[in-house]
């Protein structure tokens, strides 16, 4: 990472209310991007660009924008951006603005710089409007809370599965036919069904992808709000209660996002039971393909494969990375990860270790703590507490479940289908590689496919332009430059106080954190001490392993402390190796925090810049209760 490139010069802005000049982050237009990023703007839709016109620049400069590091730790490819960020811009924004009318949080506006998303929260100040929204919110959210089970299990999950199934079933020809089939003539089907099918199915794919993203946000804020009201009532009834204690009360959640790891545990146990025929192959260090074919050779091996194949859909539709990046791939396409995990799980089993989190023990520990807190309440308080707790526990699982079903399962299917369109473009000579399709926005891909149809229609030997290939090659370079660029954590003038509850809960953006960023930018910060959220209790120390890219998670060794922008549910199988975890991002309710709590991994989340301050090999100590991280000794 070349961190000197931009964002480092601080500006003094207009004066604050106290008359003192306040530090601010650069405006987007002041960013000094490296030359290799020239022309990045054309890769993303115009509406995501900063400072397009004077009126828009005024609006943008009047607001505080923070880098959505949670979702765009790495830049998003153009196509991925026009699905994900597009969905955020509409589906995420509309949920609080037009669907549930969450009174103070109107919406979130989005801009993009070189593939990184910047968000700004738009809040509601007007008293009349707040009142109007409160009425709507009360009625609508209550309906959702009261009917969560029916809405989630009865409607949401079947709908999402149907979206995936339909995308999967969309037919994409590998190549358009030399001549249209006979039935176009004999059944009078019109003259170019083949091209219509390509266009129709691509349109349908994008429609369905966006629909999936609408579903993504359906319960999300409500789930976090349910958590928040439980936190608040706990703080109210038990003043001074720690975040960590509240976290313990909502732990041991049976969320789908943990299922892939559980399924792998079950498979490892099965392999162990089936004996040496299976375990010797699975621990052979061979490639997944070789392992599979060797397993086919024995009865026990075939039994194992049968079970493996029975659970792989949906549970191994687990993306490498956070699910937003098409180029990261998914377990189902690259079986390296599940087979590696199986290998180490079998080894652990054979050395007498128990696999997985002891779910029942975690649950009974949690229940005992909850019971004890309840005991200290009078009847009326207990009733209030129970109601808040039950709501939280029934709805909160959504915060984890949706991540499996949308970011992992559905995205795997969407990206896989897109690669089929990519193949078509390669076969017709417009692109050199099917992956290149992701270098174009969703609208450009429609043009690309249109052009495939055109060149096909022009007949055998028609002229095929190279400009898409050339553009893809240019964009590939720009995108690599974007990956190497280190974005400014924020843009514009920070608010004196961050008050938006959703900003705090989902992105962990707090007043201290923003000030902390400013300190780091101006080199005022203490470079051996970090503070974040004490997200999962325990104090540990050990050598750090910085994992910026999720494909490096394999490098984590026994007894190391994992340091990452965020922890990822797909990493769960390697958690037993880690002593603890420190993340740049994520509040107490973040996935990062939840995953660590579920696996009993002491963790400090949302430190802001652990991955830039800590290097692999540094001896660090973390306290999962106070949220403190100390660099004890720098690596050589």
């Amino acid at each position: 990472m070349e961190s000197e490139q931009s964002g480092s010069e601080l500006s003094e802005s207009a004066t604050s209310s106290t008359g003192e000049p306040r530090e601010r982050f650069p405006f987007a237009g002041e960013l000094d991007l490296p030359a290799e990023l020239d022309g990045w703007e054309e890769m993303y839709p115009e509406y995501f660009q900063f400072e397009l016109s004077e009126d828009r620049t005024d609006y943008e400069r009047g607001r505080f924008w923070f880098w959505d590091k949670k979702d765009t730790t790495e830049p998003l490819m153009p196509w991925d951006m026009t699905i994900s960020a597009q969905a955020w811009q509409i589906a995420m924004a509309q949920n609080p603005s037009r669907v549930f009318a969450i009174p103070p949080s109107m919406s979130v506006d989005i801009r993009v710089v070189a593939g990184y998303a910047y968000f700004t929260g738009i809040s509601v100040e007007d008293e009349e409007l707040l009142k109007e929204r409160a009425e709507i919110f009360k009625e609508r959210s209550e309906y959702y809370y009261e009917n969560y089970d029916a809405l989630y299990n009865g409607t949401w999950l079947p709908a999402v599965k149907e979206i995936g199934r339909e995308i999967d079933s969309l037919e994409v020809p590998a190549e358009l036919p030399e001549y249209v089939p006979d039935d176009v003539i004999t059944e009078g089907k019109g003259q170019s069904q083949s091209t219509l099918q390509v266009i129709r199915n691509y349109n349908r794919l994008t429609e369905l992808a966006l629909e999936g993203w609408q579903r993504h946000f359906e319960f999300l804020y409500l789930a976090y709000l349910a958590y928040m009201q439980f936190t608040e009532i706990s703080r109210d009834l038990f003043p001074d209660i720690s975040d960590d204690a509240i976290g313990k009360m909502v732990s041991a959640v049976e969320a789908d996002v943990f299922r892939p790891d559980q399924e792998l545990n079950d498979l490892a146990v099965l392999a162990d039971e089936l004996g040496d025929d299976v375990t010797s192959v699975l621990t052979s260090g061979e490639s997944p393909d070789v392992k599979r074919s060797r397993l086919e050779d024995s009865e026990a091996g075939r039994e194992f494969l049968e079970e493996f194949d029975a659970v792989k859909d949906p549970w191994f539709y687990m993306t490498y990375g956070d699910g937003f990046h098409s180029y990261k791939g998914s377990w189902i396409e690259d079986m390296e990860a599940p087979f590696d995990h199986l290998e180490s799980k079998i080894e652990r089993l054979q050395s007498g270790e128990e696999l997985g989190r002891d779910f029942e023990a975690l649950q009974s520990e949690r229940d005992a703590i909850v019971d004890e807190y309840r005991q200290y309440l009078d009847a009326e308080e207990r009733q209030e507490f129970d109601h808040a707790y039950e709501t939280c526990m029934s709805v909160y699982e959504y915060a984890e479940n949706h991540q499996f079903w949308i970011e992992n399962w559905l995205h795997t299917i969407i990206f896989r289908k897109m690669r089929e369109f990519g193949e078509l473009l390669v076969n017709h000579g417009l692109l050199a590689d099917s992956e290149e399709i992701f270098l174009f926005t969703r609208f450009e891909v429609a043009e690309l496919l249109e052009e495939v149809c055109e060149t096909w229609a022009l007949g055998k030997g028609a002229f095929v332009p190279t400009r898409w290939k050339d553009r893809a090659a240019d964009r590939k370079e720009t995108f690599e430059a974007a990956k190497a660029w280190d974005p400014s954590p924020a843009l514009g003038e920070p608010p004196e106080e961050v008050t938006d509850p959703l900003m705090q809960m989902l992105w962990g953006i707090t007043t201290e954190k923003v000030n902390n960023w400013l300190d780091i930018e101006s080199d005022d910060g203490d470079s051996s001490h970090l503070e974040g959220f004490g997200s999962s209790s325990g104090q540990v120390q050990g050598p750090a392993r910085v994992v910026n890219d999720s494909s490096d998670i394999d490098k984590l060794e026994d007894g190391e402390v994992l340091v990452a922008p965020l922890t990822n549910p797909a990493w769960a199988p390697v958690f037993p190796r880690a002593k603890g975890a420190v993340t740049d991002d994520g509040g107490i309710t973040s996935h990062a925090a939840i995953v660590c709590r579920e696996y009993g991994l002491p963790a400090v989340t949302g430190t802001g810049h652990a991955t830039s301050l800590i290097e692999t090999g540094d001896l660090i100590r973390l306290d999962g209760e106070t949220g403190e991280v100390e660099i004890l000794e720098k690596a050589e």
């Binding site: 009360k138 959210s141 009201q229 204690a245 200290y376 009078d378 009326e380 009733q383 509850p501």
Partner: protein
């Protein structure tokens, strides 16, 4: 413990006879110590035994003291304070100078020796306290002055202090009160507690509720070096910890410079300066706070209401010993809770309402 169990003249604190049901035998204070031991295996009071009301009555009867007392009081004009004071003086002198009959002296000595054996301390120091049978009544003045003698070291002194405690039932004020309210003499009896003095490294007080806001999920632990008197009397600002009971997390701590501590002397106790290097050091460790929290929870659960507990930690070469010295209901927040309970419960607000309150 055979001999103690066989007679009702002395009763060990951990005996099933030393409980509230037997206040008539062991008196309120001793019963409450026995009761504390019932709270759980970990709850240890400093070892000791009760010299029972049976002992007291047998003493009075065999030495004809009861007759003397009855006659001496009968001849006094109860409205004449000077006459009552003179009678009180006479009666107390009689009791204090009488000898225990042999069988009682033997019983007391055997219990004393057993306590020495149990504590493993030949130079055992005990506290001798009176423990009246009706001290729970709203006006306790009828029960005498409730003497306490600290650092009592040998058997003769134990026997003498025991008599003095028994005599303390006959203060002038107590005699007047009982006569005016028509108590029979055998309605108010006295037992005496003989209990090992704790050689406390640290001690203090804990409330099983946060005393500043009534939050029952917390325990407030206050601690100082030495004996607990300096904390109880407020002459030192103690270390103070707020522990979240269900998760044992210290959520608030204050370790000020502590300048004074209470230590035992031959005559009782005294306040001495704390050595410079110990002043800003926490007088309890994190592990000890966890153990104290456990004790607080066990005791609170046993009594089913918030408690105010005195505790002490002894440190020996073979480890640390936790002692609970006393536990009383924590009155301020108990009353509050009773009031809250009697008010009619309001309807539970909806999730949406609660979220709206917080946004």
């Amino acid at each position: 413990m055979e001999t103690m169990a066989d007679s009702t003249y002395t009763v060990h604190f951990d005996s099933p006879n030393c409980t509230k049901a037997n206040i008539g035998l062991v008196g309120g204070k001793n019963a409450s110590l026995g009761e504390l031991m019932e709270a759980g295996d970990d709850v240890q009071v400093p070892p000791g035994f009760a010299v029972t009301t049976d002992f007291y009555e047998a003493f009075l009867e065999t030495q004809s003291l009861d007759k003397y007392i009855t006659d001496r009081i009968a001849e006094v004009d109860i409205d004449d304070d000077n006459a009552v004071a003179a009678a009180s003086r006479d009666i107390r002198e009689h009791i204090e100078s009488a000898s225990f009959p042999d069988f009682l002296a033997a019983e007391l000595e055997s219990s004393w020796e057993q306590l020495q054996a149990e504590t493993g301390e030949s130079d055992l120091q005990v506290a001798v306290r009176s423990s009246a049978t009706a001290e729970d009544l709203p006006d306790a003045s009828f029960a005498g002055q409730q003497d306490t003698y600290l650092n009592v070291t040998d058997f003769d002194a134990v026997a003498q202090r025991t008599k003095e405690c028994m005599a303390s039932l006959f203060t002038a004020r107590a005699i007047t009160y009982r006569e005016k309210h028509g108590f029979d003499r055998d309605e108010v009896l006295i037992s005496v507690g003989i209990q090992k003095m704790v050689e406390a490294r640290s001690s203090g007080v804990m409330f099983t509720v946060n005393p500043s806001n009534g939050d029952r999920s917390k325990v407030r632990i206050e601690s100082n070096w030495g004996l607990g008197e300096a904390v109880v009397s407020g002459i030192v600002t103690p270390d103070s910890f707020l522990v979240d009971k269900p998760v044992y997390k210290i959520v608030d701590r204050n370790v000020p410079d502590k300048d004074v501590m209470t230590v035992p002397t031959d005559a009782g106790t005294e306040e001495v300066e704390i050595e410079e290097e110990k002043r800003d050091v926490p007088s309890v460790t994190a592990d000890e706070l966890i153990k104290l929290t456990d004790l607080a929870k066990t005791i609170e659960q046993h009594y089913d209401e918030p408690q105010d507990i005195e505790w002490a930690i002894e440190e020996h070469s073979e480890g640390t010993q936790f002692y609970v010295l006393q536990s009383r209901p924590e009155t301020a927040w108990n009353d509050e809770a009773d009031e809250a309970n009697s008010s009619s419960p309001s309807t539970t607000t909806s999730t949406a309402d609660r979220i709206l309150d917080q946004l």
